[in-house]
Amino acid sequence: MFAAINFYQAGAGVTVPGAPTIGTATATTSTAATVTYTAPASNGGSTITLYTATSSPGGITGTLATAGSGTITVSGLTSGTSYTFTVKATNAIGQGAASAASNSITPVAPAAPGSQSYTSAGTYSWVAPAGVFKVSTVVVGTGGNGGASLYYLSNCCTVGNYYSGGGGGGGGLAYTNNYSVSPGTSYTVQVSAVGSGGANYFVSSGTLYVLGGTDGGTVTGGNGGIPGGTIMTAGYSGGAGGSGGYAVCSNSYGGGGGAGAAGYSGVGGAGGNGGLYQSPRNGSNGSGGSAGGGASGFDGFGNSQYGAGGGGVDILGQGSNGSGGTYPNGGTGGSGGASGVAVATSTGGLYGGGGGGAKPQGGTSVCGKAGALGAVRIVWQGCSRSFPSTCVGSP
């Protein structure tokens, strides 16, 4: 009976599908792989209903019920064994010819916990180690530089007269959890130079990124960095830099403070206060990051050359409150929090804080303090593999 039907259909010009075009085989776990393929040019006159990938050796199969191109998962492989795969299409008439064999893959046991950190400016390749199939990544934006004060014109400063510089914006923070990677494959990582306004990212500028905080200007504070990307699990914007005081005379006001970078486990804090000198026109506070910013510092009373730097976050991306810096060393982004007058209970990390703005000093213009570096950290396995996490320590 069935043979008769098949004979009738074949007689009407219907036959089995052609051979699919093999794509790429990828080991996704220690016992599984994916195989991509492209649908054959001919479905034999009948809609394709199923694709089957078969391993060699072992004849282990995986299927995908669809008519077009796709990705088939094959499970039950043996760790440490090399496999290739072929794919066949099936329609109402039957199963067609096999594709060419795929590339060879070797599923391996999961890697031990590990991490890779990037804290110097530059573009890098990160190669997924053997046995690493999923990673979590945190990206911290570079802090903006503090703005220059303006007593008179200077090569390092822009134009104006008797103004304090605004604080640099804090870098933002973005993270992703459980992003799939292929062992042996290169992924791009970028850490921008401080002051370049560039993005820090993982994979590409659109995949997981944070824009750096912008530099403080004449009086005005810089903007906080903004996170984004197609794989972002969550992100936090950096805080804006505080504004510098408007100066009536040469030594009037200290620079506005840099805002803190965002972190996800701290309490949002403000950037440092601008300095104050015999006037109510204090530089304004920078707004804190959405969580974990720099806390305000002070001591702008005639002595402070720079507004306080914004507190940054640590390499785990776990921000704590920063504390503001004071004369003469306070104001560098991030690290400024470590040397200043503590108005919070803990110091900020080294990354992402905005730089403090400068005040006119000694009758000259002064350039603001530099923002802090950004950072990218990739982790796999272990306790801090997922963000946010209260599990502190090496993954």
Binding site: A111, G114, Q116, S120, A121, G122, T123, Y124, S125, W126, V127, A128, P129, A130, Y152, L153, S154, N155, V159, G160, N161, P183, G184, S186, T188, V189, A193, S196, G198, V248, C249, S250, N251, Q278, S279, P280, G362, G363, T364, S365
Partner: protein, 157 residues
């Protein structure tokens, strides 16, 4: 930390990777990954221009490295930068007070004909155009005042 960059038939691929990452990934540094020397983005000098924010990976003395396109300003660019500083200086309020100041080409900034005396705590010394010299300002009254350089006096806001 040492960096290496992947090569294929003498042509580089992608970007440099850390040595420990390559050991994690491959067990050792593969033969076709070559040493790379990172050169950070330079900060242009007063009369220099960084033509691109991106370095070009180049083999220098048989080692791959970042090469940045930093160049000296042309004479026209240098003049335009200096002129912008002068113009902005002269557009300030009370600009006539500083008419004796001149451009210092070395620093591309406006400087006084007489160096500023060392600051003295509690004294506010500013440039007085009428005297063509530095001069101590009168004590500032309590409240909100601004300094009028022409009248050489504090005036209420």
């Amino acid at each position: 930390m040492n960096l290496y960059i992947e090569t294929e038939n003498g042509v580089i691929k992608n970007h440099p990777a850390f040595e420990d990452n390559l050991i994690q990934a491959f067990g050792s540094v593969p033969e076709h990954w070559k040493p790379f020397t990172r050169v950070e983005r330079p900060t242009p000098g007063i009369y220099q221009v960084l033509e691109s924010d991106t370095a070009v990976y180049t083999k220098v003395n048989d080692v791959w490295t970042d090469v940045w396109s930093l160049r000296e300003m042309t004479a026209e660019e240098k003049t335009a930068k200096q002129q912008a500083v002068i113009t902005a200086f002269n557009e300030r309020k009370y600009a006539s007070n500083w008419s004796a100041w001149t451009l210092d080409e070395a620093t591309c900034s406006m400087v006084p004909p007489i160096p500023r005396p060392e600051p003295v705590e509690g004294k506010l010394v500013m440039w007085c155009g009428a005297d063509n010299n530095w001069k101590e300002a009168p004590a500032r009254p309590e409240g909100e005042y601004k300094f009028d350089f022409i009248a050489w006096a504090w005036v209420a806001l």
